[in-house]
Amino acid sequence: MKSNINYRINKSLFIKGFIIFLAFLITLPLVSIIYYVAKEGFATINWNFFISVPKPVGEVGGGIANALVGSLILVVVASIIAIPVGIMCGIYLSENGENKLSYYTRLAVDILQGVPSIVVGIVIYFWVVKPTGSFSGLSGSIALSIMMLPIVIRSTEETLKLIPSTLKEAGLALGLPYYKVMIKVILPVGMSGILSGVMLSIARVAGETAPLLFTAFGNPYLNTNIAKPMQSLPLLIFNYATSPYDEWHNLAWGASLILLICILLLNLFTKLLTRRWKVQF
């Protein structure tokens, strides 16, 4: 009898140990990725890396200024498109619990969240690239903005739902019109939650490659015109990583490092934001 209990306790302990082991094994690949990206990336990065554009194939030197600027513009334009629409739609969903439109829109957001990014790329090719007759940064931004929308909408909706209705009622009781209550009272209160959603969505699309393959297309020159093809960090990493040139591999490692740092900073910032500005009720 006694031994049976011992056996059960030991088994429980053993399984606990095993589960902890499995759970922490996941750090291995992450450490390996960060190690390689940092080691190879830091060896590549110098001033030239940031300010020059790629050299002709096979020649040593060159940098990724075109991709840095391109990625920045793509993401900024995507944000300009996605954030207002996303926040507005989030407000609508949080204000309209159950009606036909909100039900179907919520379903649409769920679907949008799961749509493979490559499919968005195909559709934007037909929506923007073909009618306008040119690959362009704008088409890439539109594709990215579609990837951002569900995250922004969801975080807005969920944040606003948590804000007690008394706050809104107080505003309305003071005679403020509804739109002012929403914009001047409710949105600022929920700002930290919404902002963290926005940052997460930016972090997510900054690393997206698939939707850019058929839209932003790439460009060896520095280009700030969104109607022209544009290079981006993820696209550059994809093209250079699969190539035979050591020089390109180095550039790809450097680009990976920059991209990873940006994304991790965005994530970190999101955390700080939600921790410090979290509105408690």
Binding site: R8, I9, K11, S12, I15, K16, I19, A23, I26, T27, P29, L30, I33, Y36, V37, V85, M88, C89, Y92, Y104, T105, A108, D110, I111, L112, Q113, G114, V115, P116, I118, V119, I122, V123, Y125, F126, W127, L149, P177, Y178, Y179, M182, A203, A206, G207, E208, T209, A210, L213, P234, I237, F238, A241, H249, A252, W253, S256, L259, L260, I263, L264
Partner: protein, 296 residues
């Protein structure tokens, strides 16, 4: 305070609520538009190839023969293999964070790790896979006596498994932490050990939620493109074993979409995209439904 023109106020009021409705409609139209575009553009292939498209075993653009079967097999094989590899890890993480140590430094550390894993871009996974993982797999393959490609379905599955662990793990953790304390306490008072509580109370109670988490991570795996394209080998023959090179629906689109020169070729690729879209829609809607049912 100055009083504003009330008529203007009403106008703003209307404008505001209308914009809200319009944005909501816009999202709806966007999703419908996505689907319709895919459907419209894949019509030639649907009309031409019908259901045979799904079972056609050859993908041969030279002779204008398009069968999606090799890619269906490749997609399912990589995704399910990734799922099988990832489940022990994601469940372990979910149990650790949900039951053993919901708070504390160690769990905060693990949570951060999980978040980072979800944040690393797909293309960096692919690059790391090419440089680090492929040689490892190659030496494994030459030991067990299969052709040492290094690149192939197995490698793609490992990378996919790493990438999808965060989804199943975080959803699983949420579910497990929602198990009512009374249930667990009841089991403990009957003399159950920690493991027995997990096995007999927590897992049965959260079964459907855990399943939903795994389902949603499957949805991710099916549509993942870049990392897979970089390490799967891009071969359009039906893979004969898990070490063989293959192609997934997403990777074949990434490789061939910009150059599909025949109308039928292009629309066959778009039909693959539409299938991918439909499958992920179904998986996501079901997964979200289960979670919603669990929450209420």
């Amino acid at each position: 305070m100055r009083q504003k023109d009330p008529g203007l106020q009403v106008k703003y009021e209307m404008l505001f609520s209308r914009t809200l409705v319009i944005t909501a409609l816009l999202i709806l139209i966007l999703v419908i538009g996505l689907f319709l575009t895919l459907l419209l553009e894949s019509l030639p292939s649907i009309q031409h190839l019908g259901f045979g498209f799904l079972f056609g075993k050859t993908w041969d653009p030279v002779s204008n023969v398009y069968g999606a079967y090799p890619f269906l097999v490749g997609t399912l094989l990589t995704s399910f293999l990734a799922l099988i590899i990832s489940i022990p890890f994601s469940m372990a993480i979910a149990i650790f964070l949900g039951e053993y140590q919901p708070t504390g430094a160690l769990s905060a550390f693990l949570k951060n790790i999980i978040e980072l894993i979800a944040a690393v871009p797909s293309v960096i996974y692919g690059f790391w896979g090419l440089i680090v993982l492929v040689p490892l797999v190659r030496s494994l393959e030459s030991k067990i006596g299969v052709v040492p490609y290094g690149i192939g379905i197995f490698t793609a599955s490992i990378i996919l498994a790493i990438m999808i662990i965060p989804y199943a793990a975080s959803l699983g953790r949420e579910m497990i932490s929602m198990v009512p304390a009374q249930l667990k306490e009841g089991a403990y008072s009957l003399g159950a050990t920690r493991y027995e509580v997990i096995k007999a109370v927590i897992i049965p109670y959260t079964k459907s939620g855990l399943f939903a988490g795994i389902l949603l991570s499957l949805g991710r795996a099916l549509g993942e493109t870049m990392a897979v394209t970089m390490v799967i080998g891009n071969s359009s023959i039906i893979p004969t074993n898990i070490f063989a090179p293959g192609n997934t629906m997403a990777s074949v689109i990434a490789n061939e979409f910009t150059e599909a020169d025949r109308s039928l070729y292009l629309s066959a690729l778009i039909e693959l995209g539409m299938l991918l879209f439909l499958v992920t829609v179904v998986i996501n809607v079901i997964g979200k439904r289960i979670i919603k049912g669990f929450n209420t």
